[in-house]
């Protein structure tokens, strides 16, 4: 037995994404956002996308480029407060935005990733975010049924990947990556470093290779990862 090689050229991997696709993106703020895969998506021109990501990045970064070029039809997210364009486009009705409590977005994705249909929770019970969602009586208490989320493609940024697609993430760049890797019909991972089989210790793999379809090497690290001076 030896494990198959899944390394793929960037352009070839991204070309498998059709317009109209539902795409999940890793990243919480900057760390973990797959900036290079997003750039390739911009270059290739796919549009009418449904994007599922924790946030909409900030002006001039990641998701913001897709918004600026009008590629996004719908955004499922938790917080867009750092992207004025996202807020403005939402207010103008140019994109649909569905907000979710952050941990419930994580769990809905994970539920899709675990092959479940839905989760049942009391989170957001008293808020407008759960208005209209089905309810279920559990233990005398009214709980909300939150449907599992899956996507056509997950785009992931990893610190290291081996050729079979085992992934390791760095620090808080992990965030949603292991979850969306489970919830996609096709997973494309860009990696800062591609290592030979056996270089990632089996106990330290964050996303097991069987979830990953394509591993793309990064030639250079996007400037969007750079540390910025904040006020």
């Amino acid at each position: 037995m030896k494990l198959p090689d899944k390394t793929t050229a960037m352009a070839e991997a991204v070309a498998r994404i059709p317009s109209g696709a539902t795409v999940m993106l890793s990243g919480f703020g900057v760390p973990g956002t797959p900036f290079a895969l997003i750039q390739e998506l911009l270059r290739q021109g796919q549009d009418n996308l449904t994007i599922i990501k924790n946030d909409a990045n900030e002006t001039g970064m990641g998701v913001d480029h897709l918004l600026a070029q009008g590629r996004i039809r719908r955004l499922i997210t938790t917080h867009i407060g750092l992207n004025p364009r996202a807020v403005a486009m939402m207010n103008a009705g140019e994109i649909e935005v569905e907000f979710c409590a952050q941990g419930i977005l994580a769990e809905r994705i994970r539920a899709g990733g675990a092959g479940l249909k839905a989760i049942v929770t009391d989170i957001g019970r008293d808020t407008e975010l759960t208005r209209g969602k089905p309810r279920l009586e559990i233990g005398g208490d009214s709980a909300v049924v939150e449907l599992a989320l899956r996507c056509d493609v997950a785009l992931i940024h990893a610190a290291r990947a081996d050729t079979f697609g085992n992934l390791a993430f760095a620090a808080t760049a992990r965030n949603f990556a292991p979850l969306i890797a489970m919830a996609a019909d096709m997973v494309i991972a860009e990696a800062e470093e591609i290592v030979p089989l056996g270089a990632l210790p089996p106990d330290h793999v964050h996303t097991p290779g069987p979830f990953v379809d394509h591993v793309v090497a990064l030639e250079a690290l996007s400037e969007e990862y750079g540390v910025v001076r904040r006020a």
Binding site: D126, T127, E128
Partner: protein, 219 residues
């Protein structure tokens, strides 16, 4: 944002809410500043919802790690015993009551403990982020906020007018003017900023404020 002396004293006062051994989440904005007031040898585990337990000191630009931020985007550090985890695990910790305390910002806090901090309809809708789960599931929720908004309107109100983050979740409100508890009878003044009198605090509060008998401790 530069803080006045009163704001600084509020942050220092907030730090005293943290008991040894606690697991604590400090929300975006003012609460994050509490980190600077925790002594280096104080036994506490700070959690940030983007996937880190054991937050260390905030780092200056030169020392920052591009992969290591808190939920507010500040460059933070680790300490011996820190752990990274994914977003699902991070909120599993929140929803199962493993957070002893969270401090959150607010647009409005009501006298019944309701909190609104994610949406001002038609004006600003950043989204709820992790706030709903922090508010609903931390064992103790303290709101750390300016007593009034920029226009001078009270943030402590009889009933929230904005969409709720969570109902009946707030135990205590800490402002530059006062420490106020949410009780079954509504807001109750517990401590007051040095140099202020209770009438001034009451006037800046948009709901009845009960005063303690005897002298009011200051901070």
């Amino acid at each position: 944002m530069a803080l006045s002396g009163a704001h600084d004293r509020m942050i220092a006062r907030a730090a005293r809410e943290i008991a040894p051994g606690m697991v604590v989440n400090l929300g975006i904005g003012l609460p994050t500043r509490v980190i600077g007031h925790i002594p280096a040898d104080f036994p506490v585990c700070l959690h940030t919802e983007n996937g880190l337990s054991g937050i260390g000191p905030t780092l200056p630009y030169e020392a920052a790690d591009r992969n290591l931020i808190d939920a507010g985007g500040a460059y933070v550090s680790t300490i011996p015993g820190s752990a990274f985890f994914d977003s699902a695990t991070s909120f599993a910790l929140v929803r199962t009551g493993r957070l002893d305390l969270t401090m959150l910002g607010a647009f409005e806090v009501a006298a019944n403990g309701d909190l609104a901090n994610w949406k001002i309809p038609g004006r600003f809708t950043p989204g709820a982020g992790g706030g709903i789960e922090l508010a609903q599931k931390a064992r103790r929720v303290i709101v750390l906020t300016t007593h009034t908004d920029r226009a001078g309107n009270p943030k402590l109100v009889s009933r929230c007018t904005l969409p709720l983050t969570a109902a009946g979740c707030v135990a205590r409100v800490l402002t530059e003017m006062a420490v106020i508890d949410v009780t079954p009878q509504g807001f109750a003044l517990r401590e007051i900023a040095e140099g202020l009198d209770p009438a001034t605090v009451a006037a800046a509060t948009g709901a009845p404020l009960s005063l303690p008998e005897g002298e009011i401790p200051t901070f």
